[in-house]
Every structure is written in C-alpha cells, then in structure tokens.
C-alpha cells in the first residue's frame, strides 16, 4: 500500500484538516433526519419506561419483586452489575436495569454513523469527489468524528432532560447516566473508526465493529453474572464502564475516564491507519473467489438458497442465542413467582407460571420469525428494483418460478429458525431446571407458531405482487401482533382486537395442547395470500429504478 508513509513530514497539520468546518456543516445537513431520529428515539425510550413501569408495578413491593428477577445471576447476565437492586426505585430500575440497552443502541448509532460517512463514501466513490476539492487528507474522518461527538452530546442532553424534566428523576444520577451514555457512544465511534480502515466494504466494517460490541456484551455478561456489582472481567468491556458509574446509587464519575481513554486511543489508531493507506484501499486484503459456479448455483432454487443463506443464518443464530438466554431464565422466574406483580401473571396467563412464560416466549419468537419473513420478502423487492432480477427473468426462468422458489426457501427458513430457536430455549430451560421434557415441549411450542409466521410471509408476498411499493406494510402485522400480544391482556382489550393478530390463534403450548384447526386455517390463509401474490406478480410490469 504505497500511500504516504509519513504524512506529517510532507503535509502541514492545517493542510491535513483543510475544509473540516465545511464538511461538518455538510454532514449535519446530510444527517438532518437521522440525528434527531436516533437521539429522539433514545429520549422516547426514557419516557416510555417512565410511563410504563409504574403501570406494571404500581407499589414498591411489586417493584421489589420485579427487580428480584433481574438481581439473580441470569438476570445480571442480561442487564449488568445490578447496582441498587436491594433497594429498588424507578430511577434505579431504569438506569441499572435498562442502561445496558441504552448503551447498545448508542453503540449501534455510532458504528453506523462512522461507517456511513467514511467507508461507504469511499466505496461509492463520493469520497473521491470530496477529496478532489480543497480538503485535507484527514478532514473527512475528523469531520465524521466531530459529527459523532455532536450527535452523542445531543443524545445526552435529550436523555438527561427526559429523565429530569419528564420522568422527574434525581439530577445528579440523571447527569451521570446521560454523560455515561455519550461516553460509551463515542467509545464505539472509536471502534468503528478502526474497523472502517480494515475492510473495503462498509458492511464488513460495520460487522467487525458489531462483533466488538457483541464481544463487549459477552465479556461483561460473564463478569456481571459472577458477582453483584461485577468482577474484574466486567471491567475489560467498554460497555461496562458507564454501568459502573452506578447512576442513582453511587453516582461516581471516574469509570468514565476509561471510556474517554478508550475513545481517544481508538480514534488515534484509526487516524494512524487511515494516514497509511490509499483512498478506497484496506488493510485486510480481498481474497479471490470461485472461478466458476458450483453445480448447485445453476438453478433458480440454488441461487435463492445462496442469496438467502446469510440472512437466514443470521436470524437463526440471533434467535437461538436469545432463546437459550430466555430458557435459562426459567428458574429465576420460578423463584420469584410468588411475589411477581399481577401484570406478569396476566401476560403469561397461566396457573403454572413457568409454562405460561415459556408459551409467551414461543409467541415472542414468532414475532421475530415474522420480522425475518418480512426482511426476506423485502430483499426480493430489492432484487427487483436494483435490476438484478431482470437478467434472471430474461433467461428461461418464469416469474412464478423465480418468486415461488424464493418463497419456498423462506418458508423452509421459517420452519428451521423456529425449530432451532425452540430447541435452544428448551435446552436453556433444561440447563437450569433439569427437566428434560422442556426440549420437546418448546420445539413443539415454537413449531406450533409457524403457521402464524407463514401468514405474515404470505401477506408480504401478496403485497410484493399486488402493491409492490407497499411491501414494508407487512411490518404492520408483526408490530400489531407484538403490541397486542404483549399489552393486550393487561389492557383488557376486546377479543376482536386481539384476534385480528395471526399470532393469537395457535394454542398456547405448553400450557395447552396443540389445536389443529387454527393451524390449518392460518396455513390456508397464508397459501391463499401467497397464491394471489404470485399471480399478481406474473401479471405486472417488472419495476427497476
């Protein structure tokens, strides 16, 4: 990589940063929707929790027993060191029970921001247009990081104001929480600065930064599970430092120094790597791929499998890991059973709380399975509009063949993902309870929800055929199912409103036994919708943009 190896010897500092001010204004203009959306979303999360928590656990006693769920080792694995859970309050519950998820959202926001404005710009060639002007070599990256800092500070202000002004939390703790959130965000902007130098592809750069985020989650999970307040292992994770400030409990600032040091070093490393490479080049060399197609690729179904494989494996792995964690939670729930607030028993709706909980988990995973189905159909729409479907349909591949083979692959994907997730959830439950019947029970419970997911898939295909611009409308079914299925029982919604969701119809396995009729009806609706979608797709123009 021949770039200039010693930039400072040939270029003065001010030249390297020429144009930063203009670029920052330009980036703010480009992010004028995204910046308020992300930061506003974090603020709304605070407001939502401040409103929702008192309605779930109205009394201090109920709050205490709900907190109990998160204070044991499996709870800490999911939420953090669990400061202040011996004497819970709403502010402690929000900051220490949900703080980790605020941090993860902030980290994702920063990873996507940095990759979007650095590597994606280089890959599309837009960076070339910018750099050909009076713009210093380090200016685009510097401007991106200034934008990241601005975004994180805005997020801190929005979250802080929501906590103090709307939720009425203590000022000192709110300030620690909000600043900790921004510090974690900037730390992950630093991670993305480094990974953006490593690969030529924005997706790989974001993926590597995401892997660092995942590793940070796992490291602190291990550390926090071992002891209340975390262990030395926790302190190795960039996600842990903001949590270790223990907002509303200890309100200590010094752990954030670690976040700042980490952010400064990763940003410095990123700049160093960027200065040593050519525009568009990467430190990870690109490997040559297959010279010719394998025998399987030469058919429509082979291509469909190849193109859908990544999405399917990604969703399957994420849901299975989630299932394992939810399953492992079963025991803690049993212990806390007696003191739980009434809202939980309503949600799990059963005399046997464990079975009720596991049945709800199967439904919850079905919502996510529905989300997978919608993304699969949306990527088919992407194949069409990007023009990649055109040469296939100009070969002797019929419209119906193309769509139907893809649909079959997704249908099989739904079954496999639900089965694997059910087995993982069952395995997690067996780990803590020792009752081996959980494995077949949960596999069955998850498969029992498959026809409901198929309805989502069928309607998405119907939209793709008949109203292609409205494919994203299939998300409404998933969102409706999630909201009504989760809050419906608590809100005493009318039966008709609940039953509009396809997910409401399968029997609640393992609380109840499988009922064939709703499954057959749902399958028939799914097949009917998909068939109309296929026929409509056969009759309409192919759309390219």
């Amino acid at each position: 990589m021949p770039a200039d190896a010693s930039p400072s010897s040939t270029t003065s500092r001010s030249d390297r940063l020429a144009g930063v001010g203009t670029l920052v204004r330009f980036l703010l203009r480009r992010d004028r929707i995204k910046l308020p959306a992300w930061t506003g979303g974090l603020g709304l999360f605070v407001v939502y929790l401040a409103v929702a928590l008192p309605s779930v656990a109205a009394t201090e006693e109920e709050l205490r027993s709900a907190t109990q769920l998160f204070a044991d080792p499996v709870g800490r694995l999911l939420i953090g060191p669990g400061y202040g859970f011996d004497e819970p309050s709403f502010e402690r519950f929000v900051a220490n029970g949900y703080g980790l998820y605020f941090a993860i959202i902030a980290a994702l926001m920063n990873i996507l921001l940095v990759v979007r404005h650095t590597r994606l710009e280089e890959q599309t060639g837009r960076a070339e247009l910018i750099r050909a002007n009076v713009v210093g070599r380090a200016a685009p990256l510097t401007a991106t990081l200034i934008l990241a800092v601005i975004t994180n500070l805005v997020a801190a202000v929005v979250v802080g104001v929501a906590m103090v002004g709307i939720a009425g939390f203590a000022t000192a703790g709110s300030l620690v929480f909000a600043v900790g959130l921004a510090a974690t965000g900037i730390a992950f902007a630093g991670v993305a600065t480094v990974t953006a130098q490593l690969s030529q592809y924005p997706r790989a750069a974001a993926g590597m930064a995401g892997a660092v985020l995942g590793a940070a989650f796992l490291v602190r999970a291990g550390g926090d599970m071992a002891a209340e307040g975390g262990t030395a292992l926790s302190w190795l994770s960039p996600l842990a430092w903001a949590q270790q400030t223990a907002p509303f409990v200890l309100d200590r600032w010094w752990p954030l120094a670690l976040s700042i040091v980490f952010a400064v070093s990763t940003i410095a490393l990123g700049h160093l790597l960027a200065a040593r490479r050519d525009l568009g080049a990467s430190l990870v060399a690109t490997r040559p791929g297959a010279h010719e197609a394998s025998a399987r690729l030469g058919t429509p179904v082979g291509l469909a499998v190849r193109l859908q494989r990544g999405n399917m494996i990604g969703w399957g792995a994420a849901l299975a890991i989630g299932g394992l964690a939810f399953g492992a939670y079963t025991d803690a729930l049993t212990d806390a059973f007696l003191d739980l607030p009434g809202a939980f028993t309503e949600l799990f709706g059963a005399d046997d709380l464990v079975d009720g909980y596991l049945a709800y988990m199967a439904t919850f995973m079905a919502f996510l399975g529905g989300a997978y189905a919608v993304t699969a159909v949306q990527s088919l729409r992407g194949e069409e509009t990007s023009g990649r479907a055109e040469p296939l349909l100009a070969a002797p591949v019929g419209r119906i063949t193309w769509l139907a083979t893809n649909l079959v692959v997704t249908t099989v994907g739904v079954v496999s993902i639900m089965a694997v997730t059910g087995l993982a959830t069952g395995f997690g439950a067996v780990l803590v309870t020792g009752d081996t019947h959980h494995i077949p029970d949960l596999a069955l419970a998850h498969l029992n929800q498959v026809p409901a997911v198929w309805v989502v898939l069928g309607i998405a295909v119907l939209l793709l055929g008949a109203l292609p611009r409205a494919v994203a409308g299939a998300w409404i079914i998933v969102a409706y199912g999630l909201v009504v299925g989760t809050f419906g029982p608590m809100l005493d919604l009318p039966e008709a409103v609940l039953e509009l969701s396809p997910f409401a119809h399968p029997a609640e396995v393992p609380t109840e036994t499988v009922r064939a009729l709703p499954l057959l009806t749902l399958s028939a609706i799914a097949v009917g919708a998909a068939a109309i979608g296929l026929l409509a797709f056969r009759r309409r123009d192919l759309e390219t943009t």
Binding site: G289, A290, E292, G298, A395, P396, V397, D541, L542
Partner: protein
C-alpha cells in the same frame, strides 16, 4: 427471410409519459440490426417489452413465433440479453454470475466462456461488488456470447468498455453473424453500428422514424459533393434537388438529394471537372436530421 422480431403499433405508457408510441420494428433472421436513438427514446422499454418484463398497453409484438409476454420462458431459451446497466450480486464472483446466467439459458460452451474471459481480460474470481461498470458489463456480455442461442438482445452493451474491448466486441459480433445468428444491437455508438449493422432502425419518442439498410437510408438522403471545375459552378444552384451551394478556395461544395444525383452530374460535366469527391451521408447526419431540433430545445421526455 423469416422475421425474428416484429412489432406493430406497440404502445407503452408510464403515467403520462408515452415511452412507446406505436412502435413498428422488424428484425429478420441472421441480421445485425442497429437500434438507434438517444437516451429516453424508448430503446430499453422496447427491449423490455420484447423480453416480457413489461406488458405493452396496446399493439402486437412477436418474437420468433411466440408472444413475448405469454411465452416468455419458452422464448428465453432461444435468446440472451445484455442490459445497459448490469447489476451483480455483491457476494457472488463474476465467474459464478457468468455460469449462472448461461446455465439458466441451457446450452453453453465452457471453452468459449474461458476463451472470452481471456479475450475480454476479465478476472472471474472477483466478487461482484469490486467490479467497475465496464467489468460488470463484460460479465453479462461473456455470459451471453458463450450461450448457444439464436438471438442476442444487446442494450448498449459496450457503454463502459474501452476502445480495445470495443474491438474485441466487434469481432465477436462478426463471428456471431457468420454463424447465422441474429442480433438486435441498441446503441448510440454510431461507429459501432456503422461497422456492424446490416440494417438500422432509428427511434424517436417511441416511434421508428426510419428503418432500412444503411445503403437504402443513404440513398434517401442527400449526398455531399465537392468539385473543382474550370468554369464557375454557380449555375447548379438552380437545379432541382441541389442545396447549400457554397464556394470555398475555388472549390464548390453542395448537397444533392439521392434521386437527383444523375441530373447534377450531367450538369457538371460541361463545366470541366478537375476533381470531384462525393460523400454519402454519415449515420450521424442521418440521425441528426431526426434529432437536430432537439439540440435547440432539449426534450423533457424522460422515458427509458
């Protein structure tokens, strides 16, 4: 000669835009047919209708002996298509994409595929996302050229290629013509069409405004003649069919309509011709005759 492509009164609208407005196109077996017109004239729309990707609003289209919409799959076994803007899958290599298209079409010549990769200087082991526009174009071209099909539908197939590759492309098309296969070549590279096409059709705002062999088209249009004569040739101005007579450095230059050439040459002879050069109209002149006015008032037509 059998017709491979025939369209009659083909109409396709997108909202208020009439992309095809009564298109009459005919391509006979074994010919290379140039399909000329600037961006937005309706070339790609016409090809997409012929491929059954778009459904015409009215009119009739025949491809071989079938209906492009109803018999799409059967017809596609006999043709290969290269779009003007090739999109590839980011995580499939060029080699995989070439094989995929060729296998879907059916008969495909493995050795020819490797030979073409060599000739077009394409590295088939690279992933789709790393290719430049020119290289993506090569992937689609190689796949089409390696397939043993009767008809090639090429929509501006060399838009991103360099002059060396353009030469390779022209050789390949000549081979295909020799093998008796048919090519519909949509292009705005006039030199390419002039070199390759047996017949051309010029499309403007969704209609064919001119169609025929280059020789026929030239005959219908004015020839440019430059003469040096012993006596003044000013008198020619009064002859029927002679236009734009100008004197320059003792030479006379004028245009004459195709069917008045004989009279004009007879009138020239007595003047004592010292030298004479006659140019047939270039394809550019033919095209500019139909599009000349658009350079003054750019069309707002945005059909593709």
């Amino acid at each position: 000669m059998a017709h491979v492509i025939t369209t009659e009164g083909l109409v396709k609208t997108f909202g208020s835009t009439r992309a095809l407005d009564g298109l009459e196109l005919s391509v006979t077996e074994g010919e290379v047919h140039g399909f000329l017109g600037p961006n937005g004239a309706g070339k790609s729309t016409a090809i997409r209708v012929l491929l059954g990707l778009l459904r015409a609003d009215s009119g009739r289209a025949r491809l071989f002996d079938g209906d492009p919409w109803a018999d799409a799959v059967t017809l596609h076994r006999r043709l290969a298509y290269v779009p003007g803007d090739v999109e590839l899958w980011p995580n499939l290599t060029g080699g995989e994409a070439i094989d995929l298209f060729a296998r879907l079409r059916g008969r495909f010549d493995r050795t020819r595929r490797d030979e073409l990769c060599e000739r077009f200087d394409l590295d088939p082991t690279k992933k789709g996302r790393t290719y430049s526009k020119g290289n993506r174009q090569k992937v689609a071209l190689i796949s089409a050229l390696a397939s043993e099909v009767e008809l090639l539908l090429l929509d501006e197939p060399t838009a991103g290629l360099d002059p060396l590759m353009e030469a390779v492309f022209q050789e390949c098309i000549r081979d295909i013509k020799e093998a008796g296969r048919t090519v519909l070549l949509s292009s705005h590279v006039l030199a390419q069409v002039e070199a390759l096409a047996d017949r051309v059709s010029i499309i403007r705002q969704g209609r064919i405004v001119e169609s025929g062999s280059l020789a026929e088209l030239r005959h219908l249009h004015r020839i440019t003649i430059t003469v040096e004569t012993a006596e003044s040739a000013h008198a020619l101005e009064r002859l029927a069919g002679v236009h734009d007579l100008r004197e320059l450095d003792g030479q006379f230059r004028f245009e004459v309509e195709g069917d008045h050439v004989d009279d004009t040459v007879r009138a020239l002879a007595p003047l004592g011709v010292r030298s004479i050069v006659a140019h047939p109209p270039t394809l550019e002149q033919l095209l500019m005759r139909h599009y000349g006015d658009e350079t003054d008032a750019p069309s707002s037509d945005s059909a593709r």
